[in-house]
C-alpha cells in the first residue's frame, strides 16, 4: 500500500507520542509507526513512580504516564507491528508489517527511536558467557511484564537509574541484592534513587568498583569485583567475591539511529534547538539524540520536534542560521549542538565532574545559572531566549562558585 502524509513519526515511546500529538495539534496529517502492539515503549515496564511531575504535573508511574500520553492520540493514525526498513532521501519511508511492504510519502519525519542497552558482552570482562547475566532492562521486562524471576541472589553492575530501580524491584520480589557496583567515584543515577532504592533497603553501594571476572559452569555462580584506580584499572588485593546466580548490568544506553544513516550523529542524532537534524526534513527527539534523565524532558523534546516538523511540512519553518554550541570547561554533554537563534532554546547540560556549587555560564550571552551540588548524572536545564543572529558560536562552561564570605 502507498500512504501519503505530512509528518511521519517513527517510534511510539514518550518522545514519539508527544511528537505525534503536537504535530497533529498544528493541523497537519500524521502517521505514527510503532514496532510493538502498543505505544509506550519502555514506559510499559517502568512501573515505578516519579514520572510526569514536570510534564503532566502529576506523580505517575510509567504505565500511567503512557496512558495519559496515549489518550491524546485518539484521532492519529498509528500503525502497530511495523518495522521500518528504509528512510530514503526522496522522503519515502519503507516499512513492513503483517500485510507486506508499504511506502509512505511524507513531507517531514520525526525520529523517536529511543535507545538500546549496552550489553555486558561489550565490556572487557574475562569469563565464559553463561546464563544469569542480564541487562537491567531485560530483567525489568521479565519481572514486570512476564512474571518471570531471573534468579535468587544478585549483584548489580552500574548505578544508573535503571540499575538502582532494579535493586529495589529485585529486593521487593524476594531476590537478595548483595551489592551494587559503580566504576565511577559517585553514583550514576539521581540522588533520590540512591536514597529510595538502596539506602531504604540497606543495599551496599561500592563506588570505584567493577566486575573483574565471572565464574560458573552453565549458570553464574560467582561474581568477582575489585576496586579501581583513577584509570579504572583494578587495584590488586581489593577483590571481593559474591556468590550469586544473577548479574544485572546497567552500564549505559546507546542512542538508536537506525535505519537513518545519512544524517550527522555522535552517537545520537545531532539536532538543533528546533530538533532539526543535518537533513532539513528530518527531526529527532528523545533518547535517540542524547540520553535524558527524565521522561518529562523526553516528552517536551518530542513535542518540540512535532511542532517544528509540522511547521516544516507546511512550509512555515525552514533551516535558518545554525549557531554552534561548544562544550567549554568542565562540561561533559551539552544538547542540542546547534541553535537557530531566531527561536527559543532549551539546553540540557551535564557537568564533567562533581561541584559543590557550580556556576554555569553561556558565553557570550549574558546567562549564568547557579546549581548546588552539580553532579554529572543530573542534567541541568537552561533556557535561552532568541539572541543576536550575528553571534557565530556560543560556549557553555562550568566553574566552582567560591563563596566570597568563605
Amino acid at each position: 500500500m502507498k500512504y501519503k502524509t505530512d509528518v511521519v513519526v517513527i517510534g511510539g515511546g514518550a518522545a514519539g507520542m508527544a511528537a505525534a500529538y503536537r504535530a497533529k495539534k498544528e493541523g497537519v496529517d500524521v502517521i505514527l509507526l510503532e514496532r510493538d502492539e502498543d505505544t509506550g515503549g519502555v514506559l510499559n515496564q517502568c512501573i515505578h513512580n516519579g514520572f510526569g511531575l514536570q510534564y503532566f504535573r502529576k506523580d505517575l508511574t510509567g504505565p500511567e504516564f503512557k496512558e495519559y500520553a496515549k489518550e491524546r492520540l485518539e484521532d492519529i493514525e498509528i500503525l502497530f507491528g511495523t518495522y521500518v526498513l528504509e528512510v530514503r532521501k526522496d522522503r519515502t519511508i519503507v516499512f513492513v508489517d503483517k500485510r507486506g511492504i508499504h511506502e509512505i510519502e511524507t513531507k517531514a519525519l520525526v525520529m523517536a527511536t529511543g535507545a538500546r542497552e549496552r550489553h555486558f558482552n561489550s565490556l572487557p570482562v574475562p569469563g565464559k558467557r553463561i546464563t544469569g547475566v542480564f541487562t537491567a532492562g531485560l530483567a525489568q521486562r521479565f519481572i514486570n511484564l512476564e512474571n518471570l524471576k531471573p534468579g535468587s541472589k544478585a549483584v548489580i553492575l552500574g548505578s544508573g537509574d535503571i540499575g538502582l530501580i532494579m535493586a529495589r524491584r529485585l529486593t521487593l520480589e524476594g531476590i537478595k541484592v548483595e551489592a551494587v557496583l559503580e566504576i565511577m567515584p559517585y553514583p550514576g543515577g539521581l540522588e533520590r534513587n540512591v536514597q529510595q532504592c538502596l539506602k531504604d533497603f540497606d543495599i551496599p553501594l561500592y563506588l570505584s568498583h567493577t566486575v573483574t571476572a565471572i565464574e560458573g559452569d552453565r549458570r553464574l555462580e560467582k561474581v568477582i569485583a575489585a576496586q579501581v584506580d583513577y584509570k579504572w584499572d583494578p587495584i590488586p588485593g581489593t577483590e571481593k567475591e559474591f556468590e550469586v546466580d544473577t548479574l544485572i548490568t546497567s552500564v549505559g544506553l546507546i542512542p538508536q539511529t537506525k535505519p537513518v544513516d545519512f544524517v550527522e550523529t555522535d552517537p545520537g542524532f545531532l539536532v538543533s534547538n528546533t530538533n532539526q537534524t543535518s537533513e532539513d526534513w528530518i527531526f529527532a527527539a528523545g533518547n535517540c539524540t542524547v540520553i535524558f534523565d527524565l521522561v518529562d524532558y523526553v516528552a517536551k523534546e518530542g513535542e518540540k520536534a512535532g511542532k517544528y516538523a509540522a511547521l516544516y511540512a507546511r512550509g512555515e519553518y525552514k533551516k535558518g542560521k545554525k549557531v554552534k554550541v561548544r562544550k567549554g570547561d568542565n562540561i561533559g554533554i551539552v544538547h542540542p549542538v546547534y541553535i537557530d537563534p531566531t527561536q527559543e532554546s532549551t539546553l540540557y547540560i551535564r557537568v564533567s565532574r562533581v561541584f559543590d556549587r557550580a556556576s554555569i555560564k553561556v558565553l557570550p550571552l549574558d546567562v549564568e545559572v547557579i546549581e548546588d551540588e552539580a553532579r554529572p548524572p543530573e542534567m541541568i536545564v537552561v533556557k535561552l531566549k532568541p539572541f543576536d543572529e550575528n553571534i557565530d558560536e556560543i560556549e557553555v562552561m562550568a566553574d566552582e562558585l567560591i563563596s566570597k564570605l568563605g
Binding site: N44, I47, H48, N49, G50, L53, Q54, D59, L60, T61, G62, P63, E64, E67, N144, L145, E146, N147, L172, E173, G174, L190, E191, R192, V194, Q195, Q196, D200, D293, L294, D296, D372, E373, E378
Partner: protein, 127 residues
C-alpha cells in the same frame, strides 16, 4: 541553650525528581529545630517524617487472570510507612485479580489501615 545532643541529618528529598538536599536539625526527643535546603514545603514535611517514620509509595504488580498481560502494575495512592513494605508485599503476592482492569481501579481500600488505597496503574484488557 542548645545542647550538644542535637542531631543533624542530611537527606535527599524523594518527593519529586529535583531531589533537594535537605538538612534537618532535631533533638533526641524528635523535636525539630531547623530544616533547610528544601525548595518547597513538601521537603520540610518529608524531612520531619524521615527522622521518625519514613514513608514511601509502594509500587509493584499483581497477577491478572484472563488478561492480555500476566501482570497489572499497582501502587499505593500515597506514601505508606516503609516498615510496612514487607507485610504489604506478602499480601500483594497472594492477590489475583481478573481482567479487565482499568488504570485507577481500587484493589484494596485503606490498605493496611494506612488510609491509602492500592490501585491499578496499568489497564489490562480481557483476553
Amino acid at each position: 541553650m542548645s545542647s550538644s545532643q542535637n542531631l543533624v541529618k542530611e537527606l535527599t528529598c524523594v518527593r519529586c525528581p529535583l531531589g533537594c538536599k535537605v538538612k534537618i536539625e532535631y533533638t533526641e526527643e524528635l523535636e525539630v529545630l531547623n530544616v533547610s535546603g528544601n525548595k518547597c514545603p513538601r521537603g520540610r514535611e518529608y524531612a520531619i517524617q524521615e527522622i521518625s517514620d519514613p514513608h514511601r509509595i509502594l509500587v509493584t504488580s499483581v497477577k491478572v487472570k484472563k488478561g492480555k498481560y500476566l501482570l497489572a502494575s499497582v501502587k499505593t495512592t500515597d506514601a505508606i510507612p516503609l516498615r510496612l513494605f514487607d507485610e504489604a508485599m506478602k499480601i500483594i503476592e497472594k492477590l489475583e485479580i481478573e481482567a479487565p482492569v482499568k488504570r485507577g481501579d481500587i484493589i484494596i481500600k485503606n490498605f493496611l489501615e494506612t488510609g491509602t488505597d492500592l490501585i491499578v496503574t496499568r489497564s489490562v484488557e480481557r483476553l
